[in-house]
């Protein structure tokens, strides 16, 4: 029997399988940020041991950082302390830090790929659930808890039980106006926010093959939102071309050797998955969520489910509660509903392609007076590119505010928040109650759908604007 892509990488990284227990899994690359690392550093210090492989860890500050005036001290004291502690810890333990002011600083899942640190065949972990993003390169990448961060510090390994495997095949051409964010929102809506619990997912099929690396990252990023341990895509020419020439990519002979290895990374034709799902790309519409978990999504021109027609009592209660929080009605359509905020950013959709797509749509147009529009590039490098390509002028003319790199309004941990009761179309990945600020109402959508709402001031079917 053939091997899956997951098995090939997993098997190569198992140092030891504990009888009746988990496996000792070797980690090639570890990323850390200010929120989930301090206790792990402390733990190592209490044990009086140094970091085992400090050069395989890279740090950045992203969750807590402000996205304006980054040259000034952070105002919130606890946030400032976390960021300062990260600096101290990295200095003390020999960890490379791309902190505020560094040209490589940015959201951890944006900088790894753009610097060429993320490479096919690797195992990658970070104390952050959206580590699954890196799976787009054909890696086993997943989020870990603080104890596990400490494990990696101590031994460059984590203890892991092998998950089950699932393959999601998507074939055919996408409709006009439908982008990778819609694909993943469609999948989650179809299998629910817990539909892939216990699985590691591989995305395959002709639609996936035709996507750019950045589009693939958006899909892998949200794997966790359907409960999956992680998501991955087999590397191909698109992947190799993307990695080649980036600051940390192998060069010369080393590149040729690596490339030969990477070309072996695919699921064998006779590999068997524990679960498999097939999707026709033509069935996927531009999507939007109406509820308080990413699985509560509908076609942007569709209707919210009618409560009376939901058979499952638990599900019904769940949706009823979500609608109450969101201030929305069962059976209603969202098209034409006013929104007050548009947030384009986060590790899901803050890369240069996302911003190019948005710029192309808004060029020569102006935002609606009723909306505040925030564009937050995922990294300093993306921000630099935005200026180099003159996208900042397009945004400025449209009345969009462009800010500095960070997680920003993706989570209410820094200064960027959505006020209670107001609606925000967001390109981020979570619409949980209070995620963007207490009482904030989040509608998840693609950058195109978000930009369309910025122009019209209401929820809009992007297909009508292009």
């Amino acid at each position: 029997m053939g091997k899956t892509l997951f098995d090939k990488i997993w098997d190569k990284h198992v140092v030891e399988k504990i009888p009746d227990g988990p496996s000792v899994l070797y980690i090639d690359q570890h990323f850390i940020h200010e929120v989930t690392s301090p206790q792990a550093f402390k733990g190592i210090e209490q044990r009086g041991i140094p970091l085992f492989r400090p050069r395989q860890t890279i740090a950045t500050a992203d969750h807590n950082v402000p996205t304006i005036n980054q040259h000034l001290p952070i105002k919130d004291e606890l946030s400032r302390m976390q960021v300062e502690q990260l600096i101290n810890n990295c200095n003390k333990h020999g960890v490379e830090l791309y902190g505020l002011g560094h040209p490589y600083q940015g959201i951890v899942h944006v900088i790894g790929p753009e610097l060429g640190i993320t490479q096919p065949g690797m195992t990658i972990v970070c104390g952050d659930s959206h580590t699954s993003t890196h799976g787009a390169f054909g890696t086993i990448a997943f989020g870990i808890g603080t104890s596990e961060v400490e494990m990696v510090f101590a031994s460059q390994c984590v203890l892991q039980t092998k998950p089950k495997t699932m393959r999601i095949n998507i074939d055919g051409d996408l409709q006009k106006g439908v982008v990778s964010k819609d694909i993943i929102l469609y999948i989650i809506a179809r299998i629910s926010a817990s539909g892939a619990t216990g699985f590691f997912v591989e995305y395959a099929g002709s639609t996936i093959r035709s996507l750019s690396m950045e589009a693939r990252m958006t899909i892998c990023n949200m794997s966790i939102e359907m409960g999956a341990r992680g998501g991955m895509i087999a590397p191909d020419e698109t992947t190799f071309n993307y990695v080649k020439g980036r600051p940390f990519a192998p060069k010369g002979n080393a590149w040729d050797e690596k490339l030969a290895e990477w070309k072996e990374l695919y699921s064998d034709t006779d590999a068997v998955f524990d679960a498999e799902i097939n999707i026709n790309a033509a069935d996927i519409p531009p999507m939007i969520t109406y509820g308080t978990n990413p699985g509560l999504g509908i076609a942007v021109n569709g209707h919210i489910p009618v409560l009376e027609q939901i058979a499952d009592e638990g599900e019904k209660k769940n949706i009823e509660k979500a609608l109450q929080y969101m201030g929305l009605k069962s059976g209603a359509s969202l098209v034409g509903m006013p929104v007050q905020h548009v947030f384009i950013g986060s590790c899901t959709n803050s890369r240069i392609e996302d911003l190019r797509e948005v710029a192309e749509l808004v060029k020569g147009r102006k935002k609606n007076d009723g909306v505040k529009v925030m564009i937050v590039p995922g990294s300093q490098q993306v921000a630099k590119q935005v200026h180099a390509e003159g996208l900042d002028r397009i945004f400025a003319e449209a009345g969009f505010q462009i800010r500095q790199a960070g997680c920003s309004a993706c989570l209410g941990m820094n200064e960027d928040k959505v006020p209670a009761g107001e609606y925000c179309i967001s390109t981020s990945n979570r619409n949980f109650e209070g995620r963007q600020g207490a009482g904030a109402r989040t509608l998840l959508a693609s950058p195109l759908t978000a930009a369309a709402a910025a122009i019209t001031g209401v929820v809009t079917d992007i297909r009508e604007l292009i």
């Binding site: 070797y26 402390k42 044990r47 976390q82 104890s147």
Partner: protein
């Protein structure tokens, strides 16, 4: 009490700390005090009743559900508990507890009721080696499940990190071979 979620065990506002210590004083914070004031303990809450003390926490089913915050396990340990007994634990909490040397003991609903019937002064004995829990007054006992690897860790007083540290040589060898 059933369905105790980790937001109750340790409320979100205490997550900005940078150490693992001191979470114990905020364990069940919002259930322990009125208006968040240590001067106003809620007398009807068990942790505030001197009759209840010890190192085993007994709770209703589905303990530790909700957010995956490891801080919940830290708070329980820091408060002084070494074991939690319930008829059902949320998956992630169970792992987090074991990773921090807190033993989650899953007992039958019936056994749990028997413990509660004993009232204030009940004492329990847990034998990790034999994987049994006993109500001292009546001698009734039940066995519980424990992953053999985790059991070795608990019995030897070491955790996953100690285990991994003991494997550093093998890991170094692995690095050389796969380079």
């Amino acid at each position: 009490m059933e369905n105790i979620d980790t937001d109750q065990i340790i409320p979100a506002r205490f997550l900005k700390a940078t150490t693992r210590d001191g979470f114990g004083k905020n364990l069940f914070r919002d259930w322990r005090y009125d208006n968040d004031s240590e001067a106003k303990p809620k007398t009807d809450f068990a942790l505030n009743n001197p009759l209840y003390s010890g190192d085993i926490l007994v709770a209703g089913k589905n303990f530790g559900c909700g957010s995956s915050r490891e801080h919940a396990a830290w708070a329980i340990l820091d408060y002084g508990f070494n074991a939690v007994v319930s008829s059902f634990f949320a998956d992630i909490f169970k792992n987090n507890a074991l990773n921090n040397g807190v033993l989650p003991v899953t007992v039958s609903e019936l056994f749990l009721q028997k413990i509660f019937e004993q009232g204030n002064e009940a004492t329990l004995s847990i034998d990790v080696e034999a994987q049994t829990i006993r109500i001292d007054a009546t001698g009734e006992q039940e066995s519980f499940e424990l992953n053999p690897y985790k059991k070795t860790c608990l019995l030897n007083g070491y955790d996953d990190i100690d285990f991994l540290l003991s494997r550093r040589e093998a890991i170094t060898k692995f690095e050389k071979e796969s380079a």
